[in-house]
């Protein structure tokens, strides 16, 4: 029996070279993932690096990560619903309303910031549940439901904060997320932890496969991935640990938001890739009817997805408030479309069932770079929107073509 088991392949067989060939085959088959977005990041870095002397300065490099964090969180939030071929246009204003609740608890009711923040997150979860319920149980298309919430919650923000109301955030812990930095060793520790976790998970999986008598990929692939992580991450940490101040007081270190974002992306990816819920989410996104027949409670999965989306959106709202230092009535109105754009540009399929959180993060980096680079070149906002729109259209077209190539139906 045991030598029979090897007669059916699993894709783990062969040398490093065979594995590389398999990878190229998958790319040719239309499973490009975030590769176009990674290419775009490199291309943008080269273009902006040459055309603006400020682009690769220490200050701007670090700023870009801070700017990207907010968008990364929002597009990660959207991934959970886009994987179901749904959309949440209200994610931004959900965050806005939740942060308004948070600040009202502090300012009007004199609550401590921790319980106020918990209430803020609960607000987000309740909103997510309501949207999910209307979509999954009643069957109203998510586009319409969330468009209605998008409009309604802009009003809710004004009601909560008053016309033109702007409240300063005076919670140092929240302000620190976007404005303070880790000490130098903290950045290094972060990279080491990432590498250790990657190795540990890699060997954990290999151990499981080995115990089941299955073939493993060459271990060198794992080492190459970890080495790449250490090289790229190490360079980034080293660069951010240099003094980037333009004044007398030194500013150095990895912004606190970076490890925050990495941790949330890791947890989210773990849930998507390694839990039953994650598997069922992909299944519902790929074929809801098949999922239902397999005994998956499709409506429940949909509702959870909208709740997770709202929860992560509130985190992006916290990042936003931390960066600008206040909560106002217009927070989250425009970011949601950039969030969708980031996810799609990163390689998350709008048709559902395909995409990862890492894709959303890379997409967010692309959108942020365009924003940042065109700003440095003193282009007008008009040019900025035109370029972002063009990139989104390109990415969505690529998605549709890849889908066509992999044999799926073009439209649903």
């Amino acid at each position: 029996m045991s030598n029979q088991v090897t007669s059916l392949a699993s894709g783990h067989e062969g040398t490093l070279r065979d594995q590389a060939n398999q990878y190229i085959q998958r790319l040719k088959g239309g499973e490009m993932g975030s590769l176009p977005a990674i290419g775009a990041t490199i291309a943008l870095a080269v273009i902006f690096g040459f055309s603006s002397p400020f682009f690769f300065t220490k200050l701007n490099f670090t700023n870009m990560f801070v700017q990207a964090a907010e968008l990364t969180m929002l597009s990660s939030a959207l991934v959970f619903v886009i994987l179901l071929a749904e959309i949440d246009l209200s994610a931004g204003v959900t965050a806005g309303v939740s942060m308004a609740v948070f600040i009202v608890m502090i300012k009007t009711f004199a609550w401590a910031w921790v319980p106020a923040l918990i209430v803020g997150f609960l607000t987000g979860l309740v909103i997510g549940w309501v949207i999910g319920f209307i979509v999954a149980k009643i069957g109203v298309p998510s586009f319409v439901v969330t468009l209605a919430f998008f409009l309604g919650f802009q009003g809710m923000q004004l009601v909560l904060l008053g016309e033109g109301g702007v409240y300063r955030i005076e919670v140092p812990e929240i302000l620190a997320i976007m404005n303070n930095n880790l000490p130098a060793f903290g950045g290094w520790l972060m990279i080491v932890i990432c590498a250790v976790v990657m190795l540990a998970l890699g060997f954990w999986d290999r151990g499981r496969r080995a115990r089941s008598g299955l073939v493993n990929r060459p271990v060198s692939i794992l080492y190459i991935k970890v080495a790449a992580l250490l090289a790229i991450g190490g360079f980034a940490v080293w660069f951010m640990n240099l003094d980037r101040s333009q004044g007398v007081i030194p500013i150095a270190g990895v912004p606190i938001v970076v490890p925050f974002t990495i941790a949330i992306l890791f947890i989210g990816s773990f849930v998507l890739d390694r839990t039953k819920f994650g598997r069922h989410l992909y299944a519902v996104g790929g074929n809801p009817e098949a999922a239902r027949r397999a005994g998956i409670k499709v409506a429940r999965i949909r509702i959870y997805a909208f709740m997770i989306c709202a929860f992560l959106a509130v985190i992006s709202g916290v990042f936003h408030s931390s960066r600008i230092g206040n909560v106002d009535g217009s927070a989250g109105h425009t970011i949601v479309l950039s969030g969708v754009a980031a996810a799609v540009v990163g390689g998350v399929s709008l048709f559902g069932g395909r995409g990862k959180l890492a894709h959303a993060a890379i997409g967010a980096l692309v959108i942020t770079m365009i924003d940042n680079g065109l700003g440095l070149l003193q282009m007008s906002a008009g040019v900025n929107f035109l370029v972002e729109g063009g990139v989104l259209l390109f990415a969505a077209t690529l998605d549709a073509l890849a889908r066509k190539r992999s044999g799926g139906p073009l439209a649903r």
């Binding site: 088991v5 059916l8 894709g11 496969r209 089941s212 992909y282 299944a283 069932g353 992999s406 799926g408």
Partner: protein, 256 residues
């Protein structure tokens, strides 16, 4: 044959509003045998199957599973008994791979996380037990598989669940000659392993090639239950088209 039927339906009815789709069906299926369920469009084949799979429970009638009365109100209940359905449109997720599809809804867990290695091993063994040679890798996405390969995966999934009754809804409808041959062989091997197989088909040559028993539905009634060895194409067609009818209460598959 003194064996207990895997499935025994008595007086099963189902209506959709004013339309009576099943008008009191009696039906027996035996382990280790392939029973063809034939009938023209609208005869009630799909409705009969949906009742057994729990998708649309019957209105009235008794369902016995290996001699014991069973209540099948939802797909989970059917699955728990050991009834698996392979649908015509296959119900596979194209964005998932073969292993993931075979375990969908029944994932193996270890310390709360998906046990991919165990699932891959079991899926591989299930495919091998059916002597499947047409699939290249068990980690291929289903979107890259042909129709016959998809059918294979869907059938292997029922083996994996250790199904006692497998219902196949037109398994060869969309397949070419060679693929049809492969799938029919697969169906035979499945029955030979002791499973009771119900196969809906419009293709009588497939039915005569692989089935042991034939049950004919006509406008919501079971008009005949025949043994393949004791009938022929013309007779079956006469039942399908409503030219003849047996009193089903008087006959059984054993040929009394």
């Amino acid at each position: 044959m003194s064996e207990v039927p895997a499935i025994e339906l008595t007086g099963v009815t189902k209506s959709f509003g004013p339309v009576d789709v099943l008008k009191g069906i009696d039906f027996k299926v035996y382990p280790g045998r392939v029973t063809a369920l034939v009938g023209d469009n609208g005869a009630g084949k799909s409705t009969l199957i949906k009742g057994l799979s729990g998708v649309q429970p019957y209105d009235n009638g008794v369902v016995k599973f290996f001699g014991e009365t069973a209540e099948i109100h939802n797909p989970r209940a059917a699955s728990a008994l050991g009834i698996e359905v392979v649908y015509q449109d296959l119900a596979l997720c194209e964005n998932l791979d073969i292993v993931q599809n075979m375990f969908l809804g029944h994932e193996e867990l270890l310390t709360g996380t998906l046990h991919e290695a165990e699932m891959e091993l079991q899926a591989t063994k299930a495919l091998q037990s059916l002597s499947v040679r047409t699939v290249k890798s068990v980690r291929q996405k289903v979107s890259s598989l042909s129709g016959g390969q998809r059918q294979t995966v869907a059938i292997a999934r029922s083996v994996l669940r250790e199904a006692k009754v497998v219902i196949l809804d037109e398994p060869t409808a969309a397949l070419g000659v060679a693929q049809t041959e492969q799938v029919l062989n697969l169906v035979r091997r499945l029955a030979d392993s002791g499973v009771a197989v119900i196969m809906i088909s419009h293709n009588l040559s497939d039915v005569f090639k692989v089935c042991d028993d034939i049950a004919v539905l006509y406008l919501g009634r079971m008009v005949a239950q025949l043994k393949v060895s004791e009938t022929n194409n013309a007779e079956v067609i006469s039942y399908i088209t409503g030219l003849h009818s047996q009193d089903t209460s008087a006959i059984n598959v054993e040929g009394a």
